[in-house]
């Protein structure tokens, strides 16, 4: 097992950052800690690295209890949100740092260090910048150097704290794919923290959804996206329409509209419920194909790249419903503002918890 966290708890004055977290990460796995800001995910990462101490619990890295070891004995590579490159040192010196601070008897020879640094910089495609200073590099380039620096000490575990969040959208996406490829090549056990669900879905082998210091759900991106265990996870993983209603006699009320309740909620007594539908799972057509379809009017049209976003005013619904449809469909149906359409809600997800958005 690469990383085993057992019952990690950490309290700061006034609130609990981590509440009894246990998590196993297999060797070579790439895991995302996903959650809103302030949910404790960065604290968890810093605890694994030894930059913070847990109040209780154990951290086992490669079958060795490292709970009370100082960071320098943990053999963990850490990549910071704002790069944290050494500003007075060149790219070469930055990457060589971890090797040069080793005690004399463990330190590689000068030429070995040179070779290793060159190799790593080639790996992150930054070998051309070996003599530059961090201030002469762009954000994406700095983060690549930071990654090479973290890998230089042959870490057992690589930890990345929101590594792409300070970059602009285009570079972020590029670097994300590149990191996935790199991980497939070097297979170092890695955990990265993010609040960006797209990043987690695209990059991770497994996703750990965290909220208020607790793990809400753990699974592959597919599992988490398709079968969210509760309203929080469903809501956090993408845009949603929320309908507050009641569940009664196997039916869910949405506005003046009734839907069959999902099987597991068929026999519950009457209580408040929330129904969720993702905007891209809303069907739009010119003709009523099903008696549950809603009649609606297009209130607003938004261009969103390949998709078109629609705000629909539907009879019996207080708030407009958001839908996303492919551009082709939008053109084929000759839609525009003010047009009347029929709206079908597919894959409605119903939760009865008291979770509030």
């Amino acid at each position: 097992m690469g990383i085993e966290l057992q019952n990690i708890t950490k309290k700061f004055t006034g609130y609990t950052a981590l509440d009894n977290i246990s998590l196993n990460v297999a060797s070579g796995e790439l895991v995302a800690l996903l959650g809103p800001s302030g949910c404790g995910k960065t604290t968890l990462l810093r605890i694994i690295a030894g930059l913070e101490l847990p109040d209780s619990g154990k951290i086992i890295l490669e079958n060795k209890d490292t709970t009370n070891l100082p960071p320098r004995k943990k053999n963990v590579g850490f990549v910071f949100q704002h790069y944290a490159l050494f500003r007075r040192l060149t790219v070469f010196e930055n990457v060589a740092f971890g090797l040069k601070v080793l005690p004399m008897r463990e330190r590689p020879s000068r030429s070995a260090i040179q070779e290793r640094v060159e190799h790593l910089l080639k790996l992150v495609q930054m070998d051309w910048a070996i003599k530059r200073y961090p201030s002469q590099l762009s954000g994406g380039q700095r983060q690549r150097v930071a990654l090479a620096r973290a890998l230089a000490v042959n870490p057992k575990v690589l930890l990345l704290d929101e590594p792409f969040s300070a970059l602009d959208a285009k570079v972020r996406q590029e670097l994300r794919r590149w990191l996935r490829k790199l991980h497939d090549e070097i297979h170092v056990t890695s955990i990265f923290v993010t609040h960006d669900q797209e990043e987690a879905l695209e990059l991770a082998d497994r996703i750990v959804v965290i909220n208020k210091g607790r793990i809400e759900q753990l699974g592959t991106p597919q599992e988490v996206y398709d079968h969210p265990v509760n309203a929080f996870v469903y809501n956090f993983l993408g845009n949603v329409n929320v309908f507050h209603g009641r569940i009664k006699e196997g039916k869910v009320t949405l506005g003046t509209h009734h839907l069959d309740a999902p099987d597991e909620l068929k026999n519950t007594e009457e209580r408040p419920s929330q129904a969720f539908v993702r905007p891209h799972e809303i069907g739009i057509s010119r003709i009523r194909s099903n008696e549950t379809d809603l009649a609606g009017t297009i209130q607003e049209v938004r261009l969103m790249g390949g998709q078109i976003g629609l705000n629909l005013e539907c009879e019996g619904f207080e708030h407009p419903i958001e839908a996303e449809i492919p551009r082709d469909l939008y053109i084929n149906l000759q839609l525009s503002r003010g047009e009347k359409v029929f709206v079908s809600l597919n894959r409605v997800k119903v939760f009865t918890g008291d979770y509030a958005i």
Partner: protein, 288 residues
């Protein structure tokens, strides 16, 4: 949509962003007047007085044994005080910016105390603490250690008066730089002294030097606190400012201003070093 300024609109924009000419003239005039009255005129007078009895008298006054002893004592004090306060300043700034502990805010406020307290009171504190009439002072006297009315007292008083300079220079700098680089070094396996030597010190070196310059300038010129603890023993416990004051009160104006001109030279030297360092500092802070 922003429009390119048209030729017609350009003068209007210019008028708006700069003050009217009379205001400019008044402001610049006032500043110049202030500079002339309070800096250039007195400086000129110092040299005029110093040379009023001719070159030879000037040289004689600053070569006289008591004057030389005063210069020696002042430089000795600076040589002891500045390194000690640099060490103290770095330690205090490190503690305040890199750790969280109880009473941190109080410590930060207390750092300014020597600036807030009148230097005379600062001197008196030490007289009351280790003067020969106090129990501790008389015990020290029995051991043959003399603090008040001797060099250690002067050093301690100067130390107290100048101790905020380095720390105050470093704290904002280190706060702005944050802990990221140190934490990165930590995860890369560096030990405390390696982190300090390879990361922290290079990052703060210009700020540190700048603080030390300010500290030197104040150490050279300190009068009040030193005056109280010195005892004014000629050739033994007189620093340059004290010597100037003694000569002046003896109506020996030419000699007094001759020695004062040494202070002026030292001050100009520190200002010169400061300006050079500031340029370096600015150039280097682009390396972020």
């Amino acid at each position: 949509m922003l429009k390119q300024p048209t030729p017609e609109s350009a003068p209007i924009v210019k008028k708006r962003i700069s003050d009217p000419l009379p205001v400019q003239i008044v402001l610049i005039g006032l500043t110049l007047l202030f500079f002339i009255t309070f800096i250039f005129l007195p400086l000129g007078l110092v040299f005029a007085q110093a040379f009023s009895k001719g070159w030879e008298y000037y040289l004689e006054s600053i070569r006289e044994p008591y004057a030389l002893e005063a210069v020696k004592l002042t430089l000795t004090t600076v040589a002891i005080v500045v390194p000690l306060n640099a060490l103290f300043g770095v330690t205090a700034a490190w503690a305040i910016t890199k750790f969280n502990f109880r009473g941190k805010a109080a410590l930060k406020t207390l750092l300014d105390l020597p600036f807030a307290v009148s230097p005379v009171i600062a001197g008196l504190i030490f007289v009351l603490l280790v003067g020969s009439r106090t129990p501790f002072g008389s015990w020290l006297g029995e051991q043959g250690i003399k603090i008040i009315f001797s060099t250690p007292g002067i050093v301690i008083a100067t130390l107290f008066v100048t101790f905020p300079f380095v720390a105050r220079e470093l704290i904002p700098l280190m706060e702005a730089q944050g802990r990221d680089e140190e934490e990165a070094a930590l995860t890369l396996g560096a030990r405390g002294w390696q982190i300090f030597g390879k990361i922290t010190l290079p990052n703060i070196r210009w700020g540190l030097l700048y603080g030390m310059i300010l500290c030197s300038a104040r150490s050279i010129g300190e009068f009040g606190a030193v005056s109280v603890v010195s005892g004014h023993i000629r050739g033994q416990t007189n620093t340059i400012p004290l010597h100037v004051e003694i000569l002046y009160s003896e109506y020996n104006f030419a000699a007094s201003f001759s020695v004062a001109s040494i202070l002026v030279f030292l001050a100009l030297l520190t200002v010169g070093v400061k300006v050079t360092l500031e340029k370096q500092f600015q150039k280097n802070s682009f390396h972020h």
